[in-house]
């Protein structure tokens, strides 16, 4: 087991969220968790195929960042994209249907787990190759700046949030985009989900400077380190970064220290990570932690939280039923969507 980094301290008490805000975050995290648990079940029952990368354990990052955005902001993900899509507002039934390969899926059954898209929700994707989403998110941020500064549209202040993992920060696209983002002061937030592993490669073995947030400084970009198991800490950091981006002051990099509770994908035997490491992080489960916080702070009572869980359980059940009952894409449309239509 590699030496754990000291987690940045965050005074949750200072966060001061309303009960409404708290419940919104909680509900989103529960959705992320229950949805993924069901995905695992469906995968083992042969309902979905290919490489399916689950997000369990990292929910505080998705909810903390995306729930701080406006619906007209942009979200760009990776192959571990189900929960980002859900937080961005893509309905669970359309995500599930996509995983089942159905016509009603958000990518109409053409994409699958690693290629979720929803233009309606400004969800830019779903990218199966690491790092390739970063320049795409940069493009959305550029578009926003372009509208404001070149086209004079004063209300064009949309921000792009771009998610990717620790392993991806060793790729050139990451550095190239940090440079361009800083150079043109683009409204983008680079959210690094440092879960310590890139498949079987321990972060420390792959990088010369394990503290990723420090890499931003070289480009003159603020880099912050956040406890990614604490939704309030992520939420607070995201709010600052979003305000900065919206004000035209440029990008921020947020490194969230987090952990995935399952293997890299459902095909990964997950033999590389030690039992001790897994247990240590499991004990910091962001969902139970936040639940305890809500109760402690009297922002919610047991029955309320139970009701939310039941509601989400129903949502996920409905999503599976919807996916199951939806039709496959028609073979007649095999060649559709290769080119734009009239």
């Amino acid at each position: 087991m590699v030496q754990e980094r000291t987690l940045p301290m965050f005074q949750a008490a200072s966060a001061q969220i309303s009960a409404e805000e708290g419940l919104r975050l909680f509900e989103d995290m529960v959705l992320g968790r229950y949805f993924e648990d069901r995905c695992a079940e469906m995968y083992y029952r042969g309902k979905m195929f290919g490489f399916v990368h689950l997000y369990n354990g990292q929910e505080a990052v998705s909810s903390g960042v995306i729930k701080s955005l406006r619906p007209d902001d942009y979200v760009c993900s990776t192959y571990r994209d189900h929960v980002h899509a859900l937080s961005a507002g893509v309905p669970a039934r359309n995500v599930m249907a996509e995983l089942f390969g159905k016509e009603t899926g958000c990518s109409r059954g053409r994409g699958g787990s690693m290629h979720l898209f929803s233009s309606e929700h400004n969800f830019l994707g779903g990218f199966a190759f690491i790092g390739e989403g970063i320049p795409v998110a940069l493009g959305a941020a550029f578009q926003s700046k372009y509208r404001r500064d070149a086209l004079g549209q004063n209300d064009a202040d949309q921000v792009a949030a771009c998610f990717f993992g620790d392993g991806t920060t060793n790729n050139g696209q990451f550095f190239e985009c940090l440079n361009m983002a800083a150079l043109w002061k683009l409204p983008i937030i680079f959210v690094v989900e440092n879960n310590k592993w890139a498949i079987g490669m321990a972060h420390e073995r792959s990088t010369s400077q394990p503290e990723i947030y420090r890499k931003a400084g070289v480009f003159g970009i603020p880099g912050v380190e956040v406890d990614g198991m604490d939704v309030l800490a992520v939420h607070a950091a995201a709010q600052t970064a979003i305000a900065r981006a919206r004000a035209g002051e440029g990008p921020t990099l947020i490194e969230c220290l987090t952990y995935r509770f399952r293997g890299h994908s459902l095909a990964d035997p997950d033999e590389m990570r030690s039992k001790e490491e897994k247990q240590a992080w499991q004990a910091r489960d962001p969902l139970s932690k936040f639940e305890a916080y809500l109760l402690e702070q009297k922002l919610a009572g047991e029955p309320e939280l139970k009701a939310i869980k039941q509601k989400i359980q129903d949502t996920v059940d409905e999503a599976v039923k919807f996916a199951e009952e939806s039709p496959d894409p028609s073979p007649d449309e095999l060649h559709r969507y290769v080119f734009a239509e009239e």
Partner: protein, 327 residues
Amino acid sequence: MAETFLFNALREAIDEEMGRDETVFVLGEDVGHYGGSYKVTKDLYQKYGELRVLDTPIAENSFTGMAIGAAMTGLRPIIEGMNMGFLLLAFNQIANNAGMLRYTSGGNYKIPMVIRGPGGVGRQLGAEHSQRLEAYFQAVPGLKIVACSTPYNAKGLLKSAIRDDNPVLFFEHVLLYNLKEDLPNHEYLVPIDRAEIVRSGKDVTLLTYSRMRHHVMQAVKTLEKDGFDPEVIDLISLKPIDFETIGASIQKTHRVIVVEECMRTAGIAAEIIASINDRCFDELDAPVLRLSSQDIPTPYNGKLESFTIVQPKQIVEAVKKMMALQV
């Protein structure tokens, strides 16, 4: 003889070549501690150490360039593309430097390296993980392109590729790693520039490679029952193409069907057919036919995916149709 999985046949090839030549080393993502995504390098780092089985960061273009530099200065790198699709990120180094540098340097440098890994359409892996880059790369001068298809040829071909003084793109197929076959106990090599005659026949020449070889052989079972006698040739070398073997076959059958998994446009068959027309048009009793994948990104949905690639039934139909043509 020992029954061996294809992934283990590849592992044996690497192990034997690393044991034989200490300049041979492996690099790539998760090749060391993890043992490779398809177990091709399992435990080799324990035997040869972490520098000879080098776990790299996810930086395909740069580690490919690094391998080229190492090859130019005396080492013999084997790059594992965790999935061959990821080599799109290394296209520049592969095309400009692996492919062209020997020529642009006027023969100053040679680049003995192998780039190997899983390609092809798997089971619902989605478009980006279902690439058939052999078609994209075939236009690059200076690259040799090989596709293995059985445990026996996988091992012998990989050993030859490692010993070759040129950059070799070595395609494995994501769905063939668990094929099993008895392999000889003694060392053997299979030449990387020769096609393999899988079945001799006189009616029609079926040219194919990689996983489609197995689709073709499935079709052949039906065709045999129906009284046809096709000749099946596994191309093995996708560049350069072994026209000697192909030409001899055409002189016998006068009919050719190419079955490939890459897309139709600018695929492997497109090039072969043009060359057959150049070389032995007069031998042909019928226009050469190709069965290829559809010109679309591979859809995730299972049914659409199966419509995208060639199925054995289509091969049977194509042969029957061609044999029905009166000359």
